[in-house]
């Protein structure tokens, strides 16, 4: 059983901690999953994020927020970072940070865009591109704790090369319903042509509104605006739609 987020003194949770990179793997052509060891990590809820601080030799420092990708696992924290080509931080994390190097983190942060193991209602996850990361943490926690909460995932991604967590999702045997939509190019022989998702896609992949699912929507602003707008239009109550946007 995964260690749940235990209440801690806020001072502990919000102090900057040194995080050492222990392993890294390629998640897609432009994304890497970075495994850190964070002594004193208090645990987290699925969907929460961390603040990452980088400091240069001359003392300049900057911060960014990243969703935690992993389920709670002691002092281990995984972040999946997509490279933004003109970004200040993400190319460093995806291309330069090597095993043994350190960054600083604090958190976890955010108590709204989270899924808790005691939730039993149906859940509809809608991910656009790298917006899958916090939703993947929910999928992983659900599996780790043996939850029977019915989960459905709609994952919209440009092309198969941009797909995250492909084999893990393909091999998942926890009863997760999943639908992939490709906006630019599809795998060979894929039944649905590439294109933006529609209200029909959204209805086919998810739960009807009268099942009262909690909907978690994460992706770019364009994706979130469209997906959340369509959910409301087909009858999902706005209070059951939680959104998080990247960039």
């Amino acid at each position: 059983m995964a260690r749940a987020a235990v209440p801690r003194r806020l001072g502990d949770r919000l102090s900057w901690k040194t995080a050492r990179l222990t392993d890294r793997r390629e998640e897609s052509s432009a994304a890497r999953t970075l495994g850190f060891e964070v002594p004193g990590w208090p645990g987290h809820l699925a969907g929460q994020h961390v603040d990452v601080r980088l400091t240069a030799e001359d003392g300049y420092s900057t911060q960014r927020s990243y969703s935690v990708a992993s389920a709670p696992d002691g002092e281990r924290v995984e972040l999946t970072v997509q490279r933004v080509d003109d970004g200040e931080v993400s190319p460093y994390l995806t291309d330069e940070l090597a095993v043994g190097d350190v960054v600083e983190v604090r958190g976890p942060v955010g108590g709204w865009f989270v899924w808790r193991p005691e939730q039993t209602e149906p859940v509809y996850l809608l991910a656009g591109g790298s917006g899958l990361v916090p939703l993947m943490a929910m999928i992983r926690v659900r599996r780790t704790v043996g939850s029977r909460a019915p989960f459905r995932l709609l994952y919209s991604v440009r092309s198969p090369e941009h797909q995250f967590f492909e084999s893990e999702l393909r091999l998942d045997s926890s009863g997760l319903d999943r639908t992939y939509l490709y906006s630019r190019s599809t795998p060979a022989g894929w039944p649905r042509p590439a294109g933006r998702f529609t209200a029909a896609d959204l209805a086919a992949a998810g739960w009807p509104p009268d099942f009262e699912p909690t909907c978690y929507v994460c992706g770019s602003t364009g994706f979130v605006e469209r997906a959340a707008g369509l959910l409301v239009a087909v009858g999902h109550h706005p209070n059951r739609i939680r959104t998080e946007r990247f960039g």
Partner: protein, 199 residues
Amino acid sequence: MSVVSRGFRGRARDARHTLPPGQYETHGFPVLSAGPTPRVDLDEWEFTVTTETGDRYSWDWAQLMALPSRTPTVDLHCVTKWSKFDTVWEGVSLDVLLEDVETAADHALVRSYGDYTTNLPLEDLLDGQAWIAYRFDGEALDPEHGGPARLLVPHLYFWKSAKWVRGIHLLGEDEPGFWESVGYHNYGDPWREQRYQGD
């Protein structure tokens, strides 16, 4: 003592603007909200100030437009780390809207279409510090940025500048709003880096 990340250089340092701690400059206009974007019809739009004794003061859209407006140029600081400098808005100062309101309250809870709330001391809404803004960069404010009208209170982190604003409750006791109830700082001064509870 902060920890140096080997090989990290960062961007060229910006000499033109002073950033609050932990912030970086963006030239885009990122969007952050917790749920779907509400669509508010101007014919039904209303802004209401409710006092601690239950008195109500309301304006419809035409009444708001008839009030004298200001065009503040302000810097925005979002708790998600971006800052945007020299943004130009148009809106009505809260000094105008609250001028005739009789109250002994010290606290304000701001409410939005879509049920978002945020709290702040009433004094932070006064004295030329806050506006009900309806134009950004010379254009009608987009719904995803809070249109038709949002609170603009730029000296605090931008989540305090409630989008789709519909009213303000003046209260004798402080009452935490939406983000303030899930771990974010009650006040949110970017210059003191008050991001989260305990900062």
